[in-house]
Subunit: 209 residues, 2 copies
């Protein structure tokens, strides 16, 4: 295939390099055209291009520009009719402190408002209840990750103890407002389990290397 | 510890049972008090209670009522001052089709609006770009999961091929609107990697059993 890359930063260059082993890559949308050319030279089968050239030459387009430049990048790219457009953007705020759209609040924050004085910790919301009714929480030899977040350190320490006693692997996701990410993660699990018929014997494991 | 459970359905009963091996559990907030009593009898150290009793007796409270009943449950529970309140609720719509608050749109859907005719597929947005620049995508012997979503089946098949060629494990998250869950998942990874200083050699693996 021919694959056009719009936005050739860390993400676009990394994926383009890997894909150039099997496909022809058109790197585009960098402030520095010489950099695009150097990048293309470092790949098996790639060339530098303008976004319009990259799109015109390709049946698949990767949109890997920063969210704030997406409208501009798409304008430069021109018509996309019939193209497969892979969107790997995230609408991050410039300081990476959150998403600039889609998220406004969370159940956890609403609950903190309804329960004044309580030290609210979000936890146990991203695994199916069925998992607590089985003999074991293990998936083969692997533990599920249980993310938690909250604004009170002592309360969080208590919850860590409960997560461990439940047979899960606790991971601190930060302040209570991080529930804005944990609640959609639960919704993703529900979408996979029920919407996509994967069932409830699935779970999230955060892996490291 | 004494742990009060507000909402003793699948989630509350499962966790309460596990925790009753080490703690005293107060099960509350069921339409059927006899069911609470039977549940408590099946546990090592537990009793049925009203929400107010459960909270008064406990230093830790698990809020595991359905989101639509949370306001009522907290009213019945009374003052929470100084309690550790574990919130495991998710603000689900009654038909489980989405979240009732917090989510309004996604970058993917905005991009589909900006690129008419394109077959937009959300993918490659939940792993750190650094992972594409290393020698291998493997985490030990494990592959990262790459969720993708979109409304065009053929476009998704193309993206699956690219995900596999990239050395990742593709999981279909459904229609493009599921980007509302995939983008917050990326934000969770950024929060863990940078906000919580875990670095970028972390990733998500969906596990099955």
């Amino acid at each position: 295939m021919n694959i056009g890359i719009i936005g050739s930063g860390r993400m676009g260059s990394g994926l383009g390099k890997i894909w150039s082993k099997r496909h022809r890559i058109y790197f585009s949308y960098s402030r520095d055209y010489a950099k695009l050319k150097a990048l293309a030279h470092s790949c098996l089968d790639a060339q530098a291009a303008t976004p319009a050239e990259a799109v015109a030459a390709s049946e698949v387009v990767l949109l890997s520009a920063p969210w704030t430049t997406v409208a501009d990048a798409l304008r430069e790219a021109g018509p996309m009719d019939g193209k497969v457009l892979i969107d790997c953007t995230n609408p991050l705020l410039p300081d990476l402190s959150g998403l600039s759209l889609g998220l406004t609040t969370s159940a956890a924050e609403e609950i903190a408002g309804m329960a004044p004085g309580a030290k609210v910790v979000k936890a146990f919301n991203t695994a199916f209840a069925e998992i607590y009714h089985g003999e074991s929480r293990l998936f083969g030899s692997r533990r599920l990750t249980m993310f938690y977040c909250g604004d009170d350190h002592q309360a969080k320490a208590t919850v860590v103890r409960l997560i461990l006693e439940t047979g899960l692997d606790p991971i601190d996701a930060g302040p209570l407002a991080a529930a804005r990410y944990l609640e959609p993660l639960a919704m993703l699990m529900i979408q996979l389990g029920y919407g996509m018929d994967m069932g409830s014997n699935i779970g999230i494991s955060l892996i490291h290397r």
